[in-house]
Each structure stands twice: as structure tokens, then as C-alpha cells.
């Protein structure tokens, strides 16, 4: 537990958070290597099932990073994503998990600092929450 290094999946929108991550890189801003980025064309592409599958496969936390409100390249993909994240959070609470393992974050393409900052904050939050119950449970399932 003390050496717990959370595994985090971040679904990042190509037009903002992914570019912000790039920006963080070129500015040499460090952010935790725990965060594994999956680039999506828009956060509106991220379905509840993608988040659930990430958790099933052992992610300790998942966040969806999209454009600032009103700035979505596809009009309202980020709003849809926020609704889906809220849906998954409720579902997790209903099954006895902690909905906080999942979060929606927004930023613009130029916010390299914000990307690095939120990656750190989320990683810390998940560190506090501890390892995924799917990992700690006896007989971790071989989920395909």
C-alpha cells in the first residue's frame, strides 16, 4: 500500500487536452508517469463502457479531459462526456465503489501547466483512495 503507484487512464481530446499534454512536454513540465493517455477525436467519443472497461482491466482511476465549456470542436461533445462521467460516477457509487475514481476535467490546448497540474492532482487523489478494489480483491479476475 505504501508503495502504491496508481495506474491512471486519461481519455484526452485531440483538440485540447492531448495538445496540452504535448505542450507540457515541450515546456519540460513534469507530470506523473502514472497517467496513461488515450487520444480520442473528441471526449464525446468516450462512452461509459470505455471507462468501465478501463476499471475492469485494473485502472485505479480514469479521467476524461476535454475542451473548456463552449469550446468543443464538435459543439457539445465535452458536455455529453461530462454527463456520461456523472452517470458512471453514480453507477460506481451504486455498486459500492467510489465514484471519485472517475472524473471529468476541462482545459484548452494551450494549458500545458493545467494538464500537468491536474494529472498530479488526480494521481494524488487516487493515491489517497488506494488501489482499485478490483486489484485488492482475492482472486483477481482474468477479464478479457
Amino acid at each position: 500500500m505504501e508503495n502504491f503507484e496508481p495506474e491512471i487512464v486519461a481519455f484526452c481530446c485531440h483538440y485540447c487536452a492531448y495538445t496540452a499534454a504535448d505542450m507540457a512536454g515541450s515546456k519540460r513540465l513534469s507530470y506523473p508517469p502514472n497517467v496513461k493517455i488515450i487520444r480520442v477525436p473528441c471526449t464525446g467519443k468516450v462512452d461509459a463502457i470505455h471507462i468501465m472497461k478501463a476499471l475492469l482491466k485494473g485502472a485505479d482511476g480514469v479521467y476524461v479531459a476535454g475542451c473548456l465549456e463552449g469550446d468543443c470542436h464538435f459543439k457539445n461533445g465535452n458536455i455529453r462526456a461530462a454527463h456520461r462521467v456523472a452517470y458512471v460516477q453514480k453507477m460506481l457509487n451504486d455498486i459500492g465503489w467510489d465514484g471519485e475514481r472517475v472524473e471529468m476535467i476541462t482545459m484548452s490546448a494551450g494549458m500545458g501547466e493545467r494538464f500537468a497540474q491536474t494529472a498530479k492532482e488526480f494521481t494524488e487523489k487516487i493515491r489517497q483512495l488506494g488501489p482499485s478494489p478490483a486489484k485488492t480483491a482475492a482472486g483477481q479476475a482474468a477479464v478479457g
Binding site: I49, M52, M91, I95, G96, W97, A134, A137, A138, G139
Partner: protein, 222 residues
């Protein structure tokens, strides 16, 4: 379509807690359209149940199948090869689907994962509203295409009642008064005169009052 909503998670969990191997069955028809029990919802529920039981230290073996139609025996037959590999079935279809499975696989417990709600239509993305109660003797031709049985809170055949206010029903300002809608529509169609005709008391024997209903088409049934 027939609309449905997923049951509270805890209720579903309680139903399947005694079992290790579950067959979760969705339906490609109405419940897919109202996002309650199609392939997508089957996948979501399966992963949620797996996560729940993993936390309890139990690995749930859950098979996901979505049938073309769960209310037709031909499609339900497709489940036959799964039955010796599962302890219980959870259906995400409407009550018709659940019962078709129960009738075919008598030796397996079948649990509904959704509450079947009503026959309705989509108002917009994510919103469905009741439109028909299947009374068995359609009056839409007399009421301008708006059903007073499904949409008037009191099922009045000669409305509106005294509670109709500014086009809204007295039960809630969010509910349109069906009889206001009927009147507006009749006016638009230029058939207000028809409104004057008093509708006779409805014969409810064609509805549920005549007991469970059945349609027999001699030309098709062989």
C-alpha cells in the same frame, strides 16, 4: 415502443448474489431504442456487476448475449447452448422478453434487470413519454390524433375537466392537458364541430378489463 428503465443496482445485485454464472440477455428492439437493455446496456451492466463482485472477492462469470427479439421463441431458442453453462438468467428486455425466456427454459431462474414502464414515443434524445395504453379500441380518429386515455390524467372521454389551466393539467404544470391539445388540434384541422359530439361511455372489455388478451390470426396460425 415499449419503454423500460434499469432497476436499482442493489436490487439486481441481490437477485444474482447466490449465483456464480450468469447469462445476461439484452434485446435489439424497443429496449435498445430507449437505451435500457440493448447491447450497450448489457455491456455496462455486466461490467458494473463484475466490478461489484470483484470488490467482494468473487469473480462473476457473466455471459453477454443480445437477441434480435426476446419476445419471439425463435430468437430465444438461440440461448439453448448457454443454458448448461449458467446458473441463472438476467434479462434486460421488457416483461414480454423475460416471460418468453421463462417459458422456454423452465429449469432456470430468470430475473428482470429493468422495470417495463409504458408504450411511449421519443420526445427528444433521452426523453420518452407515454402515448398509448393499448385499450383495444382506438379513438385517435375521433380525438385529432391525441389519446385521451394515455395522456389525460383522468382518462376523460369528454374533457377537459375543471382543472385544465393555461393548457396544463391540474396534476402538474409540466403535464400538458390532453384535452387542450385535442381542442387545439381539432381547431387546426377545422373539425371543432366534432368536439360537440359526446363520446359514449367506453367499453373497457377490449382493454384489460376483459382479462389477459390474445390475438389469434387464423390465416397465420397453423
Amino acid at each position: 415502443m415499449i419503454t423500460a428503465e434499469q432497476k436499482p443496482m442493489q436490487e439486481i445485485i441481490n437477485c444474482i448474489a447466490p449465483y456464480d454464472r450468469i447469462l445476461l440477455v439484452g434485446c435489439n428492439e424497443c429496449v435498445t431504442v430507449c437505451s435500457a437493455g440493448g447491447r450497450k446496456e448489457v455491456g455496462l451492466l455486466a461490467s458494473a456487476l463484475q466490478l461489484h463482485f470483484l470488490k467482494q472477492g468473487k469473480t462473476l462469470d457473466i455471459k453477454e448475449v443480445t437477441l434480435e427479439r426476446q419476445c419471439d421463441p425463435e430468437y430465444v431458442e438461440e440461448l439453448v447452448n448457454y443454458m448448461d453453462q449458467v446458473d441463472a438468467v438476467v434479462s434486460m428486455a421488457c416483461g414480454c422478453g423475460v416471460q418468453t425466456i421463462a417459458a422456454r427454459y423452465r429449469e432456470k431462474a430468470v430475473y428482470p434487470a429493468v422495470n417495463t414502464k409504458f408504450m411511449g414515443a421519443s420526445e427528444r434524445q433521452g426523453i420518452w413519454a407515454e402515448r398509448c395504453q393499448g385499450c383495444g379500441d382506438c379513438v385517435l380518429g375521433l380525438t385529432g390524433g391525441i389519446c385521451p386515455i394515455a395522456r389525460c390524467s383522468k382518462r376523460l372521454m369528454n374533457g377537459p375537466c375543471g382543472g385544465s389551466t393555461k393548457g396544463k393539467c391540474e396534476i402538474s404544470p409540466d403535464v400538458d392537458c390532453a384535452w387542450q391539445l385535442i381542442w387545439d388540434r381539432m381547431k387546426a384541422l377545422g373539425i371543432e364541430k366534432r368536439y360537440e359530439e359526446v363520446m359514449e361511455a367506453k367499453d373497457w372489455r377490449t382493454s384489460r378489463d376483459g382479462g389477459p388478451r390474445k390475438i389469434v390470426r387464423e390465416d397465420l396460425a397453423s
